[in-house]
Amino acid sequence: MSRRSQWKQVADGMLGGAGKVRTMEERENVPEKACGFCKNFSENAYASDGRGYCKKLKVGSDIKVDPAVYVMEGEASLTVLFNADGSKCQYFVRMELIDTNGNEVNDPSYRRAQRQMEKAVK
């Protein structure tokens, strides 16, 4: 596969949401095992729309299917939304300290300042 094709796959994984129409339910629902509650979730520092990286899984992984597909090696980490459902993911580890305080500054590992997360954490 050419360099461009390889990175195209990564980019599609990362930017795939840009042209996607989402329902209110998809936007509002924060599942019991949402990625945002997981220790392996790291917020993206550029796009603060709630997307982040999984610290364990690489691009090509799919935690929506059953059984989940895990890719552990690769060029880039898997991009997931804070409210993606992580219930099928064996790497889900609940985080004890979730910081919803948006007045402090970026901390990809702990901070989840979205309105939906504020409600869910409370």
């Binding site: 360099r3 461009r4 990175w7 195209k8 990564v10 980019a11 990362m14 930017l15 949401g17 840009a18 042209g19 996607k20 129409v21 989402r22 209110m24 936007r27 509002e28 790291s42 993206n44 520092a45 550029y46 796009a47 603060s48 729309d49 709630g50 997307r51 990286y53 610290k55 690489k58 060029e75 880039a76 980490s77 948006g102 007045n103 402090e104 500054v105 970026n106 901390d107 990809p108 590992s109 300042a113 979205q114 309105r115 939906q116 504020e118």
Partner: protein, 832 residues
């Protein structure tokens, strides 16, 4: 009203206690007091908007409706029609006591939402706590609907689709830089020479455009040939410019009508009635016709800024108000005597307040990087005329005085110092600094004029018109010199250069191979190998950012379109091209170099402790860094305290600074902008040093991931400049401030106690003389004591008006995060 009463005590007592915010409240007019307190502050508190600030759904909806309706029009025309629809239909308002009008949102507490800028920002707006207008559910549904409409067709979506996919992934990782490669989030310079020096109102411009159309049409109805083909597009563009300029004039007339309605139907006070009628006459005159007096001149300028902001999310406010409005001040106050100095001061203060209240919805990284403000409104004062004579005038002084009365954190001033500046003006600058405003920053005008000629080839006369295009970078206000889009996505998180050099290009924060594989640093046997790796990472990082934004700039006329900005720019009026097109732009690009000095202190520490003294091995160092220094505290302290640090006049480390700058400067001549011009670096930080604190890994200068990075530019690390202010200046003076980069930010903290009174002024003036003699281009000061800042942390409401200099901008201390506050307090208070 939330107006707090002024603190007890006389002005003199408050001045003695240096409680300048209470002094201002007592000294300013009732009008200014009302207007200042009436502002809904749009700057985010850390990363969150203040309570009560709401997303403007009216303008976003009006814009989208008409954008959708005219879906088959070319992009400039489509945008012009959508903007016109907003201007014709949005809610407007006139605040009690106001003499100047214009806000780009619909109501005073709303933040404009650039709905066509970026899908990811739109989704962020949806997720943002606290900003949905009530009823919340209804607003969320509206926002979701708008987001679904724009998904995939915003300006940034379009650029992202065509970027090299590897570049896109790495840029959007958020690790190496920020900004948006689109003029949708622009920092546009304004062609003040065309508008103000040329004394043109919009009606005059339309005449110019019509003349250009007539000339072009001679060709489109003439002999066929390839040279006439692109004229058809230009004709569409010209039509779009006329359409939006006409809408802008209609919009101003709406204010005129409202002012008359208020005067004739509601107002009972005769004086206010007369003010409202004057305001009506003002809005009937400008922007249609050129201004006749100071109020009209300010109003014209403010309208121009508002219209540009309805068109794009403007992140900066390049302006030179004393230079362009000064003649009207002189006419009204000194010659015709139609305004007293006090009345003029009210207008100047209000002109600043109108800018202060402006704010749009910005993505979180921008809010965190510019905590407390909504953009870098750095207005330029002082400087020289085109012939090199002193340009300071009575309005320069009035701005410096008004700033102390209204105490806004935005706009701030950058003062173009030169040897002919009169003492009375210098005293006014100092008074602003002494009052703790953190501005004006002092800029070395002769040097920066030369710098503009060196890097971008601006002719001398044009270079002398320069204004701050954002925080720091000078840009002329002329036809070919003005830059319509500050290419802000070439904002580099430079600490990653040394981080990647130490980790073979791998980024442990985002878990990605980012930079090139320059070798395992644990196997490096001498400093030259590390430096070579650093150079390769520096070139890779700057290349990527510049490639991205160059493409964004080149495609912008196709992906976004700026009919209004084009309509007020001479080169577009003449050519019919979108002003963002690189054609006719001389080029004035710079790479904003965040987190730069970490490279220098880190490289010096490795050279000293690993390669020279062999106290540690590279392997030990890399292990400690990967552990974020956890378990290596003694070693970390060694790297902080026993390695030379920038800012102490120590050649060991200063030579590394020069070497890094020169390597980068060489590369700056290799990389070219779409106009074929250079890409110099400009080290500064805004509050990016805090935003990036948890994104940059541990470094050999002793920082951990999470620690604030240095406060930026060429400022030494907080608390690490231990040899006094002269040593700081001596280190900084070793840099060639013309050939080594575009400009270099230096923060200094001074003691308010030491600089009290006449003696304090003389000390400061002598300091400035030394600064200029050493050839530095910039310096700015914080002059608020530790006591005050700690007290403000404890009791923020009581100290809500304390202002500090963060980096290239000022902010109210209570609006910045605790980490940023501590970072400022940590800076060394220099005795001079």
């Amino acid at each position: 009203m939330v107006a707090e009463p002024a603190r007890d005590g006389s002005v003199q007592e408050l001045e003695n206690k240096q409680e300048w915010w209470w002094v201002a409240e007592k000294k300013r007019s009732k009008r200014l007091d009302y207007l200042r307190k009436a502002v809904w502050k749009k700057g985010a508190l850390g990363g969150n908007y203040a309570p009560g600030i709401k997303l403007d759904l009216e303008c976003a909806t009006l814009f989208t409706d008409m954008w959708n309706f005219w879906k088959y029009d070319p992009i400039m025309m489509r945008r012009a029609k959508a903007i016109a629809h907003v201007l014709d239909n949005k809610t407007i308002f006139i605040t009690d006591h106001a003499q100047l009008v214009g806000y780009f949102g619909s109501l005073p507490h709303t933040i404009m939402w650039r709905v066509d800028g970026a899908s990811m920002v739109n989704e962020e707006a949806y997720n943002e706590p606290g900003i949905m207008p009530e009823p919340e559910q209804e607003s969320l549904e509206k926002v979701a609907k708008l987001n679904d409409y724009w998904a995939g067709q915003t300006a940034v979506d379009k650029v992202a689709r065509i970027l090299d996919p590897e570049d896109a992934v790495k840029f959007l990782s958020g690790a190496i830089g920020w900004g948006a490669p689109s003029s949708a989030y622009g920092y546009s310079g304004k062609d003040y020479e065309y508008l103000f020096a040329g004394k043109r109102g919009f009606e005059d411009i339309i005449e110019d455009i019509e003349a250009a159309i007539e000339k072009a049409e001679e060709k489109t109805v003439g002999v066929p040939g390839p040279e006439i083909l692109d004229i058809y597009d230009r004709l569409q563009n010209w039509d779009a410019m006329i359409l939006v300029l006409e809408a802008a004039m209609r919009h101003a007339k709406r204010y005129a009508r409202l002012a008359r309605t208020m005067a004739e139907n509601f107002e009972t006070d005769d004086k206010r009635k007369e003010e409202l009628l004057r305001l009506a006459r003002t809005c009937e005159q400008v922007p249609a016709k050129s201004p006749r007096n100071l109020q009209e001149s300010f109003q014209y300028d403010h309208f121009v800024q508002m219209f540009a902001r309805v068109e794009a999310h403007e992140g900066a406010w390049p302006a030179r108000p004393d230079y362009y409005h000064g003649p009207y001040y002189d006419k009204d106050v000194n010659i015709d005597k139609t305004l007293t100095k006090e009345e003029a001061l009210d207008l100047v203060g209000e002109f600043m307040i109108r800018a202060y209240e402006v704010g749009g919805f910005a993505p979180r990284w921008a809010r965190e990087g510019l905590q407390g403000i909504t953009g870098t409104w750095v207005w330029t004062l002082g400087g020289v005329n085109k012939d090199g004579t002193d340009a300071c005038n009575d309005l320069t002084i009035a701005f410096l005085q008004a700033a102390r009365l209204v105490r806004v954190s935005n706009p701030t001033f950058g003062f173009r110092w030169h040897p002919k500046v009169k003492d009375e003006v210098m005293r006014e600058c100092f008074e602003c600094i002494r009052h703790g405003l953190g501005y004006p920053s002092m800029r070395n005008d002769p040097l920066l004029v030369q710098n503009a000629m060196h890097w971008h080839g601006h002719p001398l006369e044009e270079a002398r018109t320069w204004v701050h295009q954002a925080c720091m970078s000078p840009c002329p206000t002329t036809k070919n010199g003005v830059q319509p889009m500050r290419m802000a996505s070439a904002t580099a998180n430079c600490a990653k250069m040394v981080e990647y050099a130490l980790h073979n290009g791998y980024d442990h924060v985002v878990g990605m191979q980012m930079g090139p594989q320059t070798g395992e640093a644990s196997s490096f046997t001498d400093f030259e190998q590390l430096f070579q790796a650093w150079t390769t990472q520096m070139q890779w990082l700057t290349n990527l950012l510049v490639r991205t934004v160059n493409l964004g700039r080149y495609k912008d006329p196709e992906f976004f379109g700026r009919p209004f900005l084009s309509g007020i720019s001479q080169r577009s009026v003449e050519s019919g091209l979108d002003v963002v097109s690189p054609v006719g732009d001389r080029g004035n690009c710079w790479i904003t170099a965040f987190t730069w000095v970490e490279n220098i202190d880190s490289l010096a520490a490795v050279k000293k402790l690993v390669f020279d003294e062999k106290k540690y091995t590279m392997e030990q160092l890399i292990t400690a860094l990967k552990a974020n220094w956890d378990g290596y505290e003694q070693m970390r302290l060694d790297f902080v305290n026993n390695a030379p640090k920038w800012g102490n006049d120590d050649d060991y480390v200063d030579d590394i600074m020069i070497r890094c700058l020169q390597a980068t400067a060489r590369h700056s001549h290799v990389m070219k902008c779409p106009s074929g011009n250079n890409w110099p670096i400009l080290p500064e930080n805004v509050s990016g040093n805090i935003h990036y604190a948890s994104i940059v890994g541990a470094l050999p200068n002793g920082r951990r991931c999470g620690d604030a990075l240095y406060d930026g530019g060429i400022s030494p690390g907080p608390g690490l400049d231990k040899k006094g202010p002269t040593a700081v200046l001596a280190s900084c003076g070793k840099i060639d401030h013309i050939a080594d980069g575009r400009a270099f930010l230096l923060n200094q903290r001074l003691s308010p106690t030491q600089l009290a009174g006449e003696k304090g002024y003389q000390l400061w003036k002598a300091y400035i003389r030394t600064w200029a003699d050493l050839g530095l281009d910039h310096v700015q000061f914080n002059m608020v004591s530790d006591e005050t800042l700690r007290a403000a942390q404890k009791d923020p409401e009581k100290y809500s008006e304390v202002i500090v200099r963060v980096a290239g901008y000022s902010a109210h201390f209570v609006d910045i995060s605790r980490k940023t506050q501590d970072n400022i307090i940590q800076r060394t208070v220099q005795g001079i």
